[in-house]
């Protein structure tokens, strides 16, 4: 005991001697020789980050300005209530057929991919363990599917639904193709957000005599819902904005949809694609209007998602 206290006294006197040689008060001392250099680097990197943010924001704001400004200056009510005609390029006509077509395609694709994606996500997270062979195969293919170019999926949809199933260019063929595109996003976000619910909660529920299904129903799903909604909204935005798969499966039409099969159907991105390539301001204006409507719809979807998320994350 005495030995250690001697050692302590030794080191403290040594420390006192060391500090005595330094005459500068502590608050004027330098942290270290490299400190100044690190401070400069700190400033440079912060500057670079700001520049990067600016570079990202400029095209985004430019795009918003372009479509909002151009779209709003040329838009009129008739653009939303009339359909395109064979002579739309020469003036007259609107995008009513495309809005209704897009909503129909969204309805079909969501009706298929949302329940399917959520159910399989729940299965992957709650029932299939990490080492489950079947689950890892599904996980692998769903990741691959998310990376497949949409035009390739469009061609698959064309072969499968338009030709093999004999549905022709139709809302159902387009909607099914879109649902294949949406499925991996919903599946994976559902799986990941359910897995984030801690196991201690699962154990607590099981120990109270809860069955696995009622545990999922009452607890895990409830807390995974914000994540699931995010995934669904992402998928919905994708479904709104895709063009390539629909070129192969829905084609285009100058009329609002009245049937699910054997009837080509219009969609908003189709208007942008078609009319932005035509000469003259009339068609270009329509493309601007379509872009503006599309952006507004995507914004609306995200806005609704945020409101819903806020309500669910209250507790």
């Amino acid at each position: 005991m005495s030995k250690t206290s001697e050692g302590g006294a030794d080191s403290s006197t040594a420390l006192a001697q060391a500090t005595q040689t330094v005459t500068v008060p502590w608050y004027q001392q330098r942290v270290s020789n490299s400190y100044r250099r690190r401070q400069i680097w700190d400033k440079i990197l912060k500057g670079l980050i700001l520049v990067a943010v600016g570079l990202v924001l400029i095209p985004l704001l430019d795009m918003l300005y372009l479509f909002a400004y151009k779209g709003l200056t040329v838009i009129s009510l008739s653009d939303l209530t009339e359909s395109t005609t064979a002579g739309t390029g020469l003036g007259g006509g609107g995008i009513y057929n495309a809005i209704t077509g897009s909503l129909l395609l969204l309805g079909i694709s969501a009706a298929i991919s949302v329940p399917l994606g959520i159910f399989s996500g729940v299965y992957m997270a709650e029932f299939a363990g990490e080492h489950n062979r079947y689950a890892s195969i599904v996980r692998f293919f769903s990741d691959v599917l998310a990376g497949v170019p949409s035009i390739v999926l469009g061609y698959v949809g064309y072969l499968l639904f338009v030709l093999s199933a004999g549905w022709g260019y139709s809302a159902l063929a387009g909607g099914l193709t879109l649902s294949i595109l949406m499925l991996p996003y919903i599946l994976r976000t559902t799986e990941l957000s359910i897995k984030r619910v801690p196991d201690s909660i699962r154990e607590g529920a099981i120990a109270l005599g809860s069955t696995r299904t009622s545990m999922i129903n009452k607890l895990t799903l409830r807390f995974a819902i914000p994540g699931i909604i995010t995934g669904v909204m992402l998928a919905v935005s994708i479904s709104f904005s895709e063009t390539a798969p629909l070129l192969y499966t829905a084609l285009f039409s100058n009329y609002p949809p009245t049937a699910l099969l054997h009837q080509p159907v219009a969609y908003i991105t189709g208007i942008v694609w078609t009319f932005s390539q035509m000469p003259g301001t009339g068609p270009h204006d329509l493309a601007y209007i379509a872009s503006f409507v599309l952006l507004s719809l995507v914004f609306l979807v995200n806005f609704i998602a945020r409101v819903v998320l806020k309500r669910f994350s209250k507790i």
Partner: protein
């Protein structure tokens, strides 16, 4: 599932949860009888031929260093290990004479009879009221909203938490302190009207004040429940136990009663553990 229906037919609202429902004077006459139990995780032999009695209305403590198998043993008692990959067992675990691993025993029904409180407080991130009513709701053990209110209040009272939370039952359970959360978990376990309550190191994440409260609670609960406690803390074991089972590397080293077992251990291993030389 017939047990649940019986529970549903009781009029819980008019009776104290602690009073007997069988006319014997007390609730919780159930005991375990473990016979030559071996447990494996894949090739790992975790429990090696365990035989012991867990008597009603007593606190039986499983004590031992980390990895001795005490948690595995307590989790066997309400079949929490069923879904652990590679789990298998031999031997018998009898609850009132019936092997809980028999194929005609419903593990869900077993869990309503044998409740559990975990090492880390694990309240559900919902309101205090919803936490306590979770069990009664899934098992439909109440007839009316009023009856459920009574269950929730009595469970919280038995867990010594009622006075602290009665004005904020609808707030999130996550806002409670660690000690309060653990007592909420005890209330939640009581609310399903079990016969046995298992405590798996319930105080290891709590401060001394909360620990003392949980210990008091366990002693109070043994009047009406059979209590099993897992701990590596022998002071705690000495304070609350009626019977101490000292486990080491999957074997029972010694079974005894405090304070005799701590003052005069029969086995040198027990002595080493008590003096802090066994890790």
């Amino acid at each position: 599932m017939s047990g649940n229906q019986e529970l549903a037919q009781e009029d819980v609202a008019t009776q104290d949860l602690m009073t007997p429902n069988d006319g014997t004077g007390t609730r919780g006459g159930s005991g375990f009888s473990i016979r030559d139990l071996n447990v494996f995780y894949r090739n790992l032999h975790v429990l090696k031929g365990i035989s012991l009695e867990v008597e009603p209305h007593k606190i039986t403590v499983f004590m031992g260093p980390s990895g001795c198998g005490k948690s595995t043993l307590v989790r066997v008692l309400n079949r929490m290990n069923d879904h652990v990959e590679g789990f298998r067992h031999t031997g018998q675990v009898l609850l009132d004479g019936k092997n809980i691993y028999d194929s005609d025993v419903d593990p869900v029904l077993l869990k309503t009879k044998v409740g559990m409180v975990f090492q880390k407080p694990n309240p559900f991130p919902i309101s205090i009221y919803d936490n306590v009513s979770f069990g009664p709701k899934i098992h439909k053990t109440f007839k009316s909203k009023d009856a459920l209110d009574v269950i929730v209040q009595q469970s919280l009272e038995k867990a010594g938490l009622w006075d602290e939370v009665k004005d904020r039952l609808k707030t999130s359970a996550m806002r409670l302190s660690g000690g309060q959360q653990q007592r909420l978990c005890i209330a939640r376990a009581i609310a399903t009207l079990p016969e046995v309550i298992l405590f798996d190191e319930p105080a290891s994440a709590l401060d001394p004040g909360s620990t003392a409260k949980v210990e008091e609670l366990m002693v109070a609960l043994k009047k009406n429940y059979t209590v099993v406690l897992v701990t590596h803390n022998m002071q705690q074991a000495a304070r609350v136990a009626n019977k101490v089972v000292f486990l080491y590397k999957g074997d029972i080293v010694e079974i005894g009663e405090p304070p005799a077992m701590f003052e005069n251990p029969k086995n040198p291993l027990t002595e080493k553990y008590i003096s802090g030389h066994l890790t």
